[in-house]
């Protein structure tokens, strides 16, 4: 689905494609999550990396992109690089290079990506410590405000946006979504859904997002954004968040 000029959300995937950069964009992978959980006494079967690989492979097949931009939180632990995180990080970058033959891997550091710098050289990734501007696009993770004033199109992660919907049995389930809209200053912005398998997402129509990112206090009204939900093999445009919220509170 074309979201804006030159920006496409891939059908059924939490992945963005930007043609002029020949790049797919995604965020919030939180690799190594299961390993970290197992260390705390919850033995989650490992499915996250497997799923992410499947998703990205599909995205590359759909687009023939040569580059991947990861908009923050490739890993999970704040305080260290857990051994399982390193294992998965290593396996993942190897997969991108060798199996998918990607030419470039860009990583914008997120709030979970502490100490990842150590592996910048060995894994041959390009690391951006705050944000990255490319051809008028600005990629930033989102826990802090973006600095670049020149870019015309912003891409952010961090939020894990989703919309709560009731299924056939009347039970509430969350659908991950892209959010697309305009900043107060008129520039376009997309907020990416989380890639992580376990992240159900934050119901943006029901929750106060002020604590999540300073951007909602100062530069962006989430109510005016459009929610594009990820269904089975397709994207579903749910319309404006404020309207969804109004139905939800009926």
């Amino acid at each position: 689905m074309r979201i804006a000029k030159g920006v496409e959300a891939l059908e059924g995937l939490p992945v963005l494609y930007i043609e002029e950069l020949s790049a797919i964009v995604c965020s919030d992978l939180h690799l190594g999550y299961e390993g970290v959980m197992a260390d705390r006494g919850t033995f989650l079967p490992k499915v996250n990396l497997r799923n992410i690989k499947k998703t990205i492979k599909k995205a590359i097949e759909m687009t023939n992109a040569e580059r991947i931009i990861i908009d923050g939180d490739i890993k999970n632990e704040f305080s260290n690089v857990h051994v399982e995180e390193f294992n998965e990080f290593y396996e993942f970058t190897k997969f991108l290079r060798e199996e998918l033959k990607l030419k470039q891997i860009d990583l914008i550091k997120g709030n979970h990506d502490n100490f990842i710098d150590r592996y910048e050289k060995s894994s041959n990734i390009k690391l951006y410590r705050q944000e990255a501007s490319m051809n008028g696009f600005l990629f930033f993770h989102g826990e802090e405000l973006p600095h670049d004033k020149e870019a015309r199109f912003l891409v952010m992660g961090h939020l894990h946006p989703a919309i709560g919907v009731y299924n056939k049995l009347g039970i509430k389930e969350k659908l991950k979504c892209f959010l697309y809209g305009k900043m107060e200053d008129g520039r376009e912005i997309v907020i990416l859904p989380a890639m992580n398998y376990f992240a159900e997402g934050v119901d943006v129509a029901m929750r106060d997002l002020g604590e999540n990112s300073p951007i909602f206090a100062k530069m962006l009204d989430v109510g005016g954004m459009e929610a594009i939900c990820i269904g089975e093999d397709e994207l579903l445009d749910f319309g404006k968040v404020s309207e969804i919220a109004a139905i939800g509170r009926r």
Partner: protein
């Protein structure tokens, strides 16, 4: 072979083998043998496995111990009493353990005080979660000859390398309160511990099971003794001394006309009856079935009849341990006139002299009623006395049939959870810690236990793969694997240092439970509900909390989010999860009673005096109805049953029974909905499954939301008013459903429900996938729940048949619901072995009044509900009158 033993031994036969000191003491102390002792002394001395069922106060515990004490005394006199455990006694209650300790220590003291010989004394000690480190150290150095413990502590001890050495000479194992273990996962856990113990020490021991009665006793015996490797059950004698104690019981109606009497009159009458029974007896025990009911009865008795804290007390699970112990202590001293309990006093804790048991409302099971009555009458010579006071007409019929069945000794059947994979996970981890096993050898030991006798190799291997971490990559097994497994050698054993700690800190079958906070969608706190109740909720359900009505919207981990629902009809009462479900067998008995009584009633429908017969005051004619005459009920009750059945018969021309289902289309309270009432009398667990199957089918077919109320006597399906079910639709349903894989259909339906989310947490915690305690740190229930939901999501992704998921569905379908019976009933309906009849009523028929107002139900009194029932009844009666 399992053998029922019915011929008691003479006193001489029983006592002749006893050690002389024990015999002298015994004969001085007791004039004669109690019924269980007339069998047990001799049978145990001959080293037979033995299951004894008898009411409390029949000396059954002592009947098991006396032979063992005698044998130990012999050893001690010969100077051969060694530093080892000769006998293990296991009971599910710590409180009971302390009683037993006292009851063994005191006689030993008395015996020793009369002896001049200086011999080594028989040591008794309790080992539970409360035992201090110092005491444990002492036990390790000098093991008790008789060890008194709980299932959980036993599981720890058999894995303790040093202590388990003391078990090598074990001769006896006693399991007390067997009826509280054989029907649940705690018992399953214990039965595996016992088989592991026998295997570890390399020889079997005499197994003695004690309990209140349960049926079938043969299965209880199998649970106790297990199987030999050739597949034969081990030998066991059964002694059923339950009925040697005389019992007198009666079902009573508080008023002549339960429907039309005002609340004040009914309530007044109930308390008047209670007071007069309490006055006539020394100590009365009242069971109310729910905790809130317990408090209310105590409050009202105090208010109306001047009882105070010194004469009356409540006893239930929500009270603090100290409060409960205080009440038990007062009971033992005989200080209380009356104690009111929900279910907590059913178990065999010593509560002194109770001479009368009252049940307020149905205990829902024949066996349970017998157990409760059995608590009265201290000695086996006394008569157990009791009354059941009913609170509505269904309750009346149910209690009458229940007491009649008790008189005829028709008991409901218990069943043991079979092949529970979560509990088995724990034991495989435990086994791996003690030695290296071959797969075949471990499989053989596991199948000796009754609950695992039919375990398939596939299921067993699935657990081995899960526990060895086969579901993650090789490099992560260090973290995930709890056992080590060698695929080439087919062996498994210990893995990692942490696993031992995980086993000790997380074993057991009882899930951590916590109250759920109820919030409105505006984030306002309303109150608490129990997690078990939350499991029953589906979005749209309306329930009453703190006097207001709320609609369940969704849950967030440990929160229940609701919206205001004033004006809507409640669909489920908040004590629903506390209320025991009516058993299938008792439901069938009621069905048979309905059939017989309706046959007898047919001739009365032609009576010219009909209207006067059903209009109120007791009539002589009613006394002539044979089936009513023989029942243990009072005249008011007899009269009320007659009227109830007669009204239904006149109104619908048919009384539904166990092989003829009435399906009634109707309206209620002018709501824009259709009510389809299934008079399906098969107990709540069966109806739980049946109603879901019907609702899923209708929901799919009409693409519409379907509401369901589930009760013991049937279920109500609520659809929007456009859906009009015809007989043809039901025939099509029965035909189509017979070709569907019902289990898979229900799985799909239940997958995202609260029931699944929370039951999965229980199973994942038991199966060591989500730990409750890690490295000594307790993990909060909230955290466990979040983690369990993540685990479910991932496990389902890698394998929908992951052992712990499979077990969760099994628990829901076989233990919570009774899906096998529900499927059987559908099959019988499609073959016309169970017939049905579809009728349409403008006002719901009398038999459906309690079903349709169910959500408004409260156990003792509920003003709204009574009012609605009265209104419905008035409408039915005016219609009946117009027929003449």
């Amino acid at each position: 072979m399992i053998t029922n033993y019915t011929k008691p031994f003479t006193k001489e036969e029983s006592l002749q083998h006893l050690n002389i000191f024990i015999r002298e003491w015994f004969e001085k102390k007791y004039k004669e043998l109690t019924p269980p002792q007339k069998y047990s002394l001799k049978l145990i001395s001959e080293q037979h496995n033995l299951l004894i069922t008898a009411p409390t106060g029949s000396g059954k515990t002592f009947s098991a111990f006396i032979t063992i004490m005698s044998e130990l005394m012999d050893l001690s006199l010969k100077g051969k009493l060694e530093e080892k455990v000769y006998c293990i006694y296991v009971s599910p209650l710590r409180a009971l353990n302390n009683d037993i300790y006292k009851n063994l220590s005191a006689p030993l003291q008395e015996i020793y005080s009369q002896m001049t010989l200086d011999i080594s004394k028989i040591r008794v000690a309790t080992r539970t979660g409360d035992t201090t480190t110092k005491e444990r150290q002492q036990m390790l150095a000098h093991p008790p000859h008789i060890l008194v413990t709980t299932p959980e502590s036993l599981a720890i001890l058999i894995n303790s390398q040093r202590f388990s050495e003391h078990f090598k000479g074990l001769r006896y194992l006693i399991i007390d309160e067997l009826h509280e273990l054989a029907n649940n996962k705690r018992g399953v856990h214990l039965s595996m511990s016992v088989e592991r113990l026998a295997d570890m020490i390399g020889h079997d021991f005499v197994r003695i099971g004690l309990g209140a009665t349960l049926s079938p006793l043969e299965d209880a015996a199998r649970f106790l003794v297990g199987y030999r490797d050739n597949g034969e059950e081990r030998d066991c004698y059964i002694v059923d001394a339950t009925w040697d104690k005389k019992m007198e019981f009666i079902a009573m109606s508080p008023v002549n006309d339960i429907v039309n009497a005002t609340d004040a009159v009914i309530e007044g009458s109930i308390y008047k009856m209670l007071n007069s029974i309490i006055k006539q007896n020394k100590t009365t025990l009242i069971f109310t079935n729910t905790r809130s009911g317990t408090e209310r009865v105590v409050y009202n008795l105090m208010k109306s009849y001047k009882y105070n804290e010194e004469s009356i007390a409540a006893h239930h699970g929500s009270l603090s341990r100290d409060t409960r112990l205080g009440v038990e202590e007062m009971l033992k001293k005989g200080e209380l006139k009356c104690v009111v309990s929900s279910t907590s006093l059913e178990l065999g804790i010593d509560i002194g002299f109770i001479d009368n048991v009252i049940q307020l409302g149905s205990p829902k099971s024949v066996a349970r009623a017998v157990q409760r009555f059995g608590r009265s009458g201290h000695g086996f010579m006394d008569i157990a006395k009791g009354e059941t006071i009913v609170t509505n007409r269904d309750d009346l019929v149910e209690c009458s049939v229940m007491l009649d069945a008790a008189k005829k000794r028709h008991l409901d059947r218990f069943s043991t959870p079979k092949n529970a994979l979560d509990i088995l996970s724990q034991h495989i981890v435990g086994m791996s810690q003690t030695k290296k096993w071959t797969i075949d050898e471990a499989y053989k030991v596991i199948r000796r236990a009754y609950p695992y006798h039919t375990l398939t190799m596939d299921d067993f291997m699935a657990l081995i793969f899960y526990l060895s971490g086969k579901y993650v990559g090789l490099e992560s097994r260090r973290v995930y694997g709890k056992i080590w497994y060698d695929e080439n050698e087919h062996t498994f054993g210990r893995r990692g240092k942490l696993t031992k700690l995980i086993y000790f800190l997380n074993l057991g079958a009882i899930p951590d439970d916590v109250a759920i906070d109820v919030f409105t969608t505006e984030n306002k706190w309303i109150g608490n509900i129990e997690e078990e109740f939350m499991m029953r909720l589906k979005p749209g359900d309306v329930f009453v909390l703190g006097g207001h009505r709320y609609k369940f919207e969704y849950s967030r981990v440990m929160r229940c989010i609701v919206s205001d629902a004033s004006g809507e009809i409640p669909t489920i009462p908040p004590w629903y999860s506390e209320q025991l479900p009516l058993t299938y067998e008792l439901a069938i008995e009621i069905g048979k009673f309905r059939e017989q009584l309706s046959k007898e009633l047919m001739e009365y429908t032609k009576s010219r005096k009909l209207l006067s017969l059903i209009s109120g005051k007791p009539k002589k004619e009613i006394g002539d109805i044979r089936i009513l005459k023989d029942m243990p009920i009072d005249d008011k009750a007899r009269n009320a049953i007659f009227r109830y059945f007669m009204e239904q018969l006149l109104y619908t021309k048919v009384i539904p029974n166990d092989h003829h289902m009435l399906i009634e289309k109707t309206k209620y309270k002018e709501q824009d909905r259709n009510y389809i009432i299934f008079h399906s009398l098969y107990g709540r667990r069966v109806n739980d499954a049946l109603s879901r199957i019907v609702a899923i089918y209708l929901g799919d077919r009409y693409e519409s939301e379907i509401g369901v109320n589930i009760v013991d006597n049937g279920f109500v399906v609520i659809t929007d008013s456009q859906i009009d079910i015809k007989k043809r639709d039901i025939d099509i349903f029965l035909k189509e459903i017979s070709t569907v894989n019902i289990r898979e259909m229900l799985k799909e339906n239940i997958k995202r429900t609260e029931m699944m989310k929370r039951r999965f947490r229980y199973c994942a915690a038991r199966g060591f996938m989500v730990l409750r305690n890690y490295k000594g740190r307790k993990i909060s229930v909230r955290k466990q729940q979040i983690n369990a939901q993540l685990v479910f999501k991932a496990a389902e992704e890698i394998d929908p048949n992951f052992p712990i998921i499979k077990e969760t569905y099994r628990e829901i379908f076989d233990d919570v619901m009774d899906l096998p019976k529900a499927e059987d009933i559908l099959k019988k309906m499609s073959k016309d072995e169970i017939t049905y009849q579809l009728i349409e009523t403008t006002v719901p028929s009398p038999f459906s009044h309690n079903m349709i107002t169910f959500g408004e139900a409260d156990i003792i009194m509920m003003k709204d509900r009574r009012k609605h029932i009265r209104e419905l009844h008035k409408q039915v009666m005016s219609k009946i009158k117009r027929m003449f």
